[in-house]
Every structure is written in structure tokens, then in C-alpha cells.
């Protein structure tokens, strides 16, 4: 199966969600999914551009849809990031609904030598492709090391299920696709009540009280259900729950420790890949203890090598105090 692929800024090498990219590449290979990256794609604007300029925000996203049409014969574009998925599908849906908007956006695109006919590209979330196109059965066939004994909290966040501009891929209130997928991988899935609640999005940068409150609900929810880890489908959710968990603990004087991994990393582990190949070990909330329960070893990331002494050994000796010489 062949798709256009829109990685999004967070999945680039060196960016916060690069492990998501690494593990996606691994599982795509295993499941015979071929992803052709959209040529010279740009940022989807996240939740920020639309807060300032409507037409520019839609033109920004539409440039990606137009670029995707250059991948001959590929009508579907996969986005692993829920926010990119939302923006791309929302743009296509509103361009289809709103002829005036589509005309203006195309007038703007023409300045860059591009055009886009609404509806030409169908945007899909990676989770949707894995569970619906590949299917649970074919995933099950690839499982060689079931995640037996691992209790996981499936976390969907908002945008994969809401508001579903292309029709529902899962329930907006009580989604279940990730639950089923993780069961297929052999994990013990907890009935996580917070599974479709919000991670706070950009609020960590705007109002830490609001952000930490939202992060706490999710982390506490998983801890209350004795989940060993939270499994996510979105880079923003992973960043908020993982990188800000320490800050949230300091803010509330709590001591939660719930690691947060991507569903693609869990799939890779169940398919028998090593943790390092899947980018595991890059999370800030250490997942080693949790993964040790299923016999997965995560090598410690080496601390940076100590700086070499600048003075070569063969250089003349430095003057020393008499007592040092005596030693």
C-alpha cells in the first residue's frame, strides 16, 4: 500500500518527536506500507496561524495539499501528527464547503505557481491507516514478542477523533481503535477514562496553571488505573505529558512517574525490534522500569563524553606545589 506522507515539523530529525518518525519507518517497512514524502512540504500552522489570519492560514495548509497532488497517482496522504491531520483535513473540508474561500485560496496559491482542487487529496491519520487499511489481523500476524504483562493506558487526545471533518474514524467521546490495536499486540489495556481528553496543546507556553492542570488529570488518571505507561498517537500529547511531567510534579508537589510512548514504538516492540531502533530511550520520563517488565532492555543514553584535556601528555609538566610532588 502506497501513500503520500506528511511528517510535520515535530517529526523531523532532531525535533521533539523524531522517535515517532523512527518507529513509524520501522513499522511501515514491516507492514509493507510505502510512504512517499510530500515534496518540500511546509508547516501546517498548528493552532497559531489561524488565530491571526484566516486566508493565509488556509493558503499555508493548501500549499501542502497542492504539493501532495504532485505525487502521481497517490490520492491519500498520511499524517502521523494529530494536529497536522486536523489542519490538513479541515482545510480540505472547508475548501470543499466554501466556494468563496476556495477561490481566494487558489488565487493565493497561483502566486506560487500552484493550484488545488478541493477533494483531490484525502488526508488520513496514521492510526486510521494501521487499523483500517492494514487491519488488526495483519498486525497480529507480525507480532513475535507480545507485550504480555504490560499495562497500558491508550491515549487518543482530541484531534484524531474530533471533530472528524471527514467523517468518523473513531468515536469522539469513547474511541476504541487504539485499545483494540494494543490488545492485538498482547498488552493489557486499561479502560482509561481520560483517553480522549485534552493534553493542553500550546497552553504550557501561555498559562502554565491551565496546562499543568490538564496534564495532571491525564497522568493521574493513568496512575490511578495502575498503567505502566501511556500510549499516544500525537507528538504534542507526547511532549506535554512527557517533557512537562516533571514541571507538573513540581507545580503540584506530586511524584507521578508515568512514561509516555508512541503506539508505533509499542508495535515495533511487539514486532521484535530493539528499543533503540524505535527511538525508545529519548523520553524524559524514564520508560526502562516499565519496559523491563516485558523483558525489553533500553540502553542508557550515554552522557556526552568528557571534554578532552587540551594539554597533550607529552607536553612539559605543569609546575606543581611541593606537597603534590610528595604524593
Amino acid at each position: 500500500m502506497k501513500y503520500s506522507y506528511f511528517p510535520g515539523c515535530s517529526l523531523e530529525r532532531g525535533a521533539a518527536a523524531y522517535p515517532y518518525q523512527q518507529s513509524t519507518e520501522v513499522i511501515a517497512r514491516t507492514l509493507d506500507l510505502e510512504f512517499v514524502e510530500v515534496e518540500d512540504w511546509n508547516c501546517c500552522g498548528a493552532t497559531e496561524y489561524i488565530a491571526l489570519n484566516r486566508m493565509a492560514a488556509y493558503a499555508l495548509v493548501a500549499r501542502n495539499l497542492a504539493q501532495a497532488t504532485k505525487n502521481d497517482g497517490l490520492k491519500e496522504m498520511v499524517a502521523p501528527c494529530s494536529a497536522c491531520y486536523l489542519n490538513l483535513s479541515k482545510c480540505d473540508a472547508y475548501l470543499t464547503d466554501d466556494a468563496a474561500l476556495a477561490a481566494n485560496v487558489n488565487a493565493a496559491l497561483a502566486e506560487g505557481g500552484l493550484s488545488y482542487k478541493p477533494g483531490s487529496i484525502k488526508v488520513r491519520h496514521l492510526l486510521d491507516v494501521v487499523v483500517n487499511d492494514v487491519g488488526y489481523e495483519r498486525v497480529a500476524m507480525r507480532v513475535t514478542k507480545p507485550l504480555r504483562g504490560l499495562r497500558v493506558a491508550p491515549y487518543y487526545g482530541c484531534l484524531v477523533g474530533r471533530p472528524a471533518f471527514y467523517g468518523q474514524i473513531d468515536d469522539p467521546e469513547y474511541p476504541v481503535t487504539l485499545d483494540k490495536l494494543l490488545k492485538v499486540l498482547g498488552a493489557e489495556v486499561v479502560d482509561y477514562p481520560m483517553k480522549a481528553h485534552c493534553c493542553g496543546g500550546h497552553m504550557t507556553q501561555i498559562s502554565e496553571g491551565v496546562a499543568f492542570d490538564l496534564i495532571r488529570r491525564l497522568v493521574k488518571g493513568a496512575a490511578d488505573y495502575q498503567a505502566d505507561l501511556i500510549v499516544t498517537v500525537c507528538p504534542m500529547c507526547q511532549l506535554n505529558l512527557d517533557a512537562f511531567q516533571g514541571g507538573m510534579n513540581r507545580y503540584f508537589k506530586t511524584n507521578y512517574h508515568v512514561p509516555v510512548l508512541y503506539f508505533t514504538q509499542m508495535m515495533g516492540l511487539a514486532f521484535g525490534y530493539e528499543a533503540v531502533e524505535l527511538g525508545i530511550g529519548a523520553e524524559l520520563v524514564d520508560a526502562r522500569a516499565a519496559l523491563a517488565r516485558i523483558g525489553v532492555e533500553v540502553p542508557q543514553v550515554e552522557p556526552p563524553a568528557p571534554r578532552k584535556t587540551r594539554r597533550p601528555k607529552e607536553a612539559l609538566p605543569m609546575p606543581a606545589m611541593p606537597e603534590e610532588v610528595a604524593k
Binding site: E12, A16, D97, L214, G247
Partner: protein, 190 residues
């Protein structure tokens, strides 16, 4: 205090016109499902329900000054739960844009964050996490830099922070597209 917008349109018409698609705003029953579903409701000056009421009453300035849209986390719970299919989240974005254009906001943290983000995207075509967060923190919360220092060091050690922004090849084309889009947006509002 109903007020009529400068060009004869009501504030309600203005909001609907500036929202992509049809937001179905006229259908509101004032049931409050939106506010009850909102994760940041308690921090908002007005619940989304109250804000919709204010839009209908033509209360332009108080509605645009409200912190409510800036506390919206875009979770879309209000939108999927609304019994009348009102696009509440889209309305929040519309109010943000109108507030920025009319310079009607009391706390500039959120608008400035959006501006800093957009600035990176307009010049490089991609978002740049390190540049965005450091610029934003230095401007709005310089002491916050120390608070998140631990996290920053951790992210660097784990190779999850890039130090150089990437520029797309077609940046000139993108700039031309965005300039034209802004020009069209300005015409659309007249």
C-alpha cells in the same frame, strides 16, 4: 448595549462572515453544553455560551476583550457535543483574529505566542521549537527559562531539540502565496 459595526453590519454578521464554512451561529439555544464540556472553562472570563450570547447582543468590545478565545485549547469537545452543530471552536479562532486586528486584548501572552510562531513559519516554512520557545519565554516569562532549564537540558541530552531551523526550498513561493492571501483577506473585510 447593542452596537452596530462600522460598515452597517451587525457584530453577529461580522463574526459569521469571518468564519470559514457555515458556523450555524444563529442556531444557539443557550443550553451551555459547550461551557460544560470545556476543559479550561474555569479560567475563562465568559463561558462559550455566554460569549455567543454577547455576540448576538452586539457586545463587540467586551466580547473581543474576553480572554475566553485565548484559553481555548482546540479540543473540539464543544463542537462535537453541540446539539445544534455550531462550530464553536471556529468561532473562537474568529474572535482571536478580530481581537488581534482591533488590538483588543488585555494579556498579550497568547497573541504574541501566535505571532512568534507565525514569524518562524513565514520566514522558514517550518516551525522551529527552540527558536519559538526561547523567544516567547524571553519576552513573556524570562524567569521561566530557569524553571524549564531541567527540561531543556533533558531534551538536548536526548537529541530532541534541533539547534538550526530548516528552510523549505520553495520559501519564496510560499511568501508570495501568503502575501497574496493577506491581501485578499484585507479586501474581504472591507
Amino acid at each position: 448595549m447593542p452596537t452596530v459595526a462600522t460598515n452597517g453590519r451587525t457584530f453577529f454578521d461580522e463574526v459569521v462572515a469571518a468564519t470559514p464554512g457555515d458556523p450555524h451561529l444563529e442556531r444557539c439555544l443557550q443550553c451551555g453544553t459547550c461551557g460544560g464540556s470545556c476543559p479550561s472553562g474555569p479560567d475563562m472570563d465568559h463561558t462559550p455560551r455566554a460569549l455567543i450570547g454577547m455576540i448576538r447582543a452586539g457586545m463587540r468590545e467586551p466580547a473581543l476583550r474576553s480572554n475566553t478565545p485565548w484559553f481555548c485549547v482546540s479540543c473540539y469537545y464543544c463542537m462535537v457535543r453541540c446539539p445544534q452543530d455550531i462550530h464553536v471552536t471556529d468561532i473562537m479562532y474568529t474572535l482571536k483574529r478580530m481581537a488581534v486586528k482591533s488590538k483588543l486584548y488585555d494579556d498579550s501572552t497568547a497573541p504574541d505566542f501566535s505571532k512568534t510562531f507565525v514569524n518562524w513559519v513565514e520566514n522558514y516554512g517550518r516551525a522551529f521549537e527552540l527558536g519559538l520557545m526561547s523567544q516567547h519565554l524571553l519576552r513573556h516569562n524570562p524567569f521561566g527559562v530557569f524553571k524549564i532549564a531541567n527540561m531543556g537540558v533533558g531534551m538536548v541530552a536526548k537529541g530532541r531539540i534541533s539547534f538550526t531551523p530548516k528552510r523549505i526550498k520553495g520559501i519564496d513561493g510560499l511568501k508570495a502565496i501568503l502575501a497574496k492571501a493577506k491581501e485578499l483577506e484585507a479586501q474581504d473585510e472591507v
